[in-house]
């Protein structure tokens, strides 16, 4: 076999054989354009090592020096054996290289999916709702309810068998309102206290407002209730439809001091309001965050009432 030397480098040369093979070989002091008959081919690394190299793996032949017949190509046994071994060795190597990429992709996907799922389940905020039943609604970042917990016995009754999963906050609040009415926890002149807690104070503020509005809207057309949200700015909303019901006045649009929470200046709507419920049930103080006190029962005498056997709640989120 004859080879033309096409290119010379320090440590190797590129030659072209008569069958159109280009090979990298040892540069035995070649010159470009020279024709040689004896080359020592460079052995390529295993497939898995090659980054962008040739797709085939078999090493080029290392040909022995010519003896009597110039045209005969003799492959030494070692070269043949090592070539076979290399070919078989690289087949799985080629496959596994591909598999590595696949594995990496799968791992990335798992990671992404995991993050997505985790975000869904992370509590972003909580809404403490107290009518008489006291409950806590946990939502994730997209305002979708991920947990619902009762904070007292009535609360437990309220939410028993209620499906909350994946429902929006607004929807859940509405539906629980309806339930409360159905079950008799809430009726004309009743009061709903909402207080919010969350990772983002912006969210808290914004949600407080929107819930307030939302609930008022929802309840108008039903009956009059007092809705207290957040910092204890009770806002009672009037319902024009039911006749004869005295509008509930709330003379306090002013802020209360924190200490004054629970001193409801307007006890009247509550009592004659046909409150089917027993006198303001013992309410649990929902877990406090440090600066905000929640509405206490309107009956001042019960302001610190606590059912003895109700466990005190752990502090969930701090702010």
């Amino acid at each position: 076999m004859k080879y033309i030397v096409m290119e010379c480098h320090l440590s190797y040369a590129v030659v072209l054989d008569e069958y159109g093979r280009f090979l990298k070989v040892a540069n035995l002091h070649y010159r470009t354009g020279q024709t040689v008959t004896h080359v020592i081919a460079m052995q390529e690394p295993d497939q898995e090592m090659e980054a962008a190299g040739s797709p085939e793996s078999g090493p080029p032949e290392a040909l022995p020096r010519k003896t009597q017949t110039p045209s005969e190509v003799q492959r030494t046994p070692e070269a043949a054996v090592s070539e076979t071994a290399r070919k078989t060795a690289s087949q799985p190597a080629r496959k596994s290289r591909w598999l590595y990429s696949l594995g990496a992709l799968a791992a990335c996907l798992v990671l992404v999916v995991g993050v997505v799922f985790k975000t869904q389940d992370t509590i972003y905020g909580s809404v403490y709702m107290e009518i008489n039943p006291s409950i806590r609604i946990d939502v994730n970042r997209s305002d979708s309810v991920i947990a619902l917990e009762s904070l007292n016995e009535d609360g437990a009754a309220l939410i028993r068998d209620y499906q909350y999963r994946k429902k929006s906050l607004d929807l859940v609040v509405d539906q629980l309102m309806d339930r409360a009415i159905e079950m008799g926890f809430l009726s004309e002149g009743g009061r709903i206290s909402l207080s919010l807690d969350g990772k983002s104070s912006d969210w808290v503020v914004q949600k407080e407002e929107s819930l307030d509005t939302h609930l008022s809207d929802y309840m108008s057309g039903k009956f009059t209730v007092t809705i207290e949200v957040g910092e204890g700015q009770p806002s009672s909303h009037e319902n024009p439809a039911p006749p004869g019901t005295p509008p509930s006045h709330d003379s306090s649009d002013s802020d209360y001091d924190d200490d004054d929470y629970g001193d409801d200046p307007d006890p009247s709507p509550q009592k004659p309001g046909g409150n089917g419920t027993p006198p303001p049930p013992p309410e649990q103080d929902p877990p406090d965050d440090d600066g905000t006190d929640y509405q206490k029962p309107d009956n001042p005498s019960q302001s610190s009432y606590r059912k003895p056997d109700e466990p005190s709640l752990p502090d969930d989120d701090d702010e």
Partner: protein, 242 residues
């Protein structure tokens, strides 16, 4: 040894970059020479074939080195030693036979020289020069396509079957000169025509794009010597593959 750490980075950088590889090798010539001498049990000079083999072995080491193979220089030394041993074994086996290149003491000619066409020095030299010119020309054209001979060597098919498939495509192009004209004019490889004309698998031809490009260029005007050398390509299995 702390000295290893910078070299590992250099090795990895040199794996794909030929220039960096050459630089690295040049730096370590003394090392390579001394390792070769150790294997040969005699002083190895730059002129010895063994030195060239040691250098290509060092280059192979760069290409195949992985961190989990230990220190790079030890790995390279081992590879040099093993290649030189292979070489020596091959030489020893043929020592019993008459060497083609060995000169007959009587007339100063080797058998090889007697058997092939006798050329005098001038002929050989001029032929070499002519070949070199063709190669340089080809190399320039390949450069416009962004391809070097090293690229082609790395991209070329090694298995018989694939080589044949590519040869089919090249034959088809040789018989349809307009294809070659198109190549030169547009600067793009007319792959789809090659696939349909030769019946080879697109995947195969795509894999060896650079190689096919080089071979097609050789079929264009001006590379008679190289084409003459490649006579086997066009002769094999005569006829057009339909």
């Amino acid at each position: 040894m702390e000295k290893e750490h910078p070299i590992i980075a250099q090795v990895y950088a040199a794996k794909e970059d030929m220039l960096k590889a050459d630089d690295l090798i040049r730096t370590y010539i003394p090392f390579i020479r001394s390792e070769a001498s150790k294997s040969l049990m005699r002083v190895c000079t730059d002129q010895d074939d063994e030195f060239s083999i040691a250098m290509i072995a060092f280059h192979e080491a760069i290409r195949s080195y992985r961190k989990d193979r230990g220190a790079f220089l030890s790995y390279a030394a081992m590879l040099i030693r093993s290649r030189l041993i292979d070489y020596q074994r091959r030489e020893a086996r043929h020592r019993g036979h008459l060497s083609m290149d060995e000169e007959n003491p009587e007339d100063g000619l080797s058998m090889y020289e007697k058997l092939v066409d006798e050329k005098d020095e001038y002929e050989e030299a001029s032929e070499l020069q002519a070949t070199r010119q063709e190669i340089e020309e080809l190399s320039k054209v390949m450069e416009t396509f962004g391809v070097t001979f090293t690229d082609v060597a790395e991209n070329a098919p090694k298995q018989e079957r694939t080589l044949d498939a590519c040869a089919g495509a090249i034959r088809y192009a040789a018989e349809n000169r307009d294809l070659l004209d198109e190549l030169l004019k547009t600067g793009k490889l007319p792959m789809s025509r090659l696939v349909s004309g030769s019946g080879a698998e697109k995947k195969t031809l795509e894999r060896h794009r650079k190689y096919i490009l080089a071979m097609l260029l050789i079929q264009t005007n001006g590379y008679e010597i190289i084409r003459g050398h490649l006579r086997h390509i066009l002769k094999r299995k005569g006829g057009i593959t339909v």
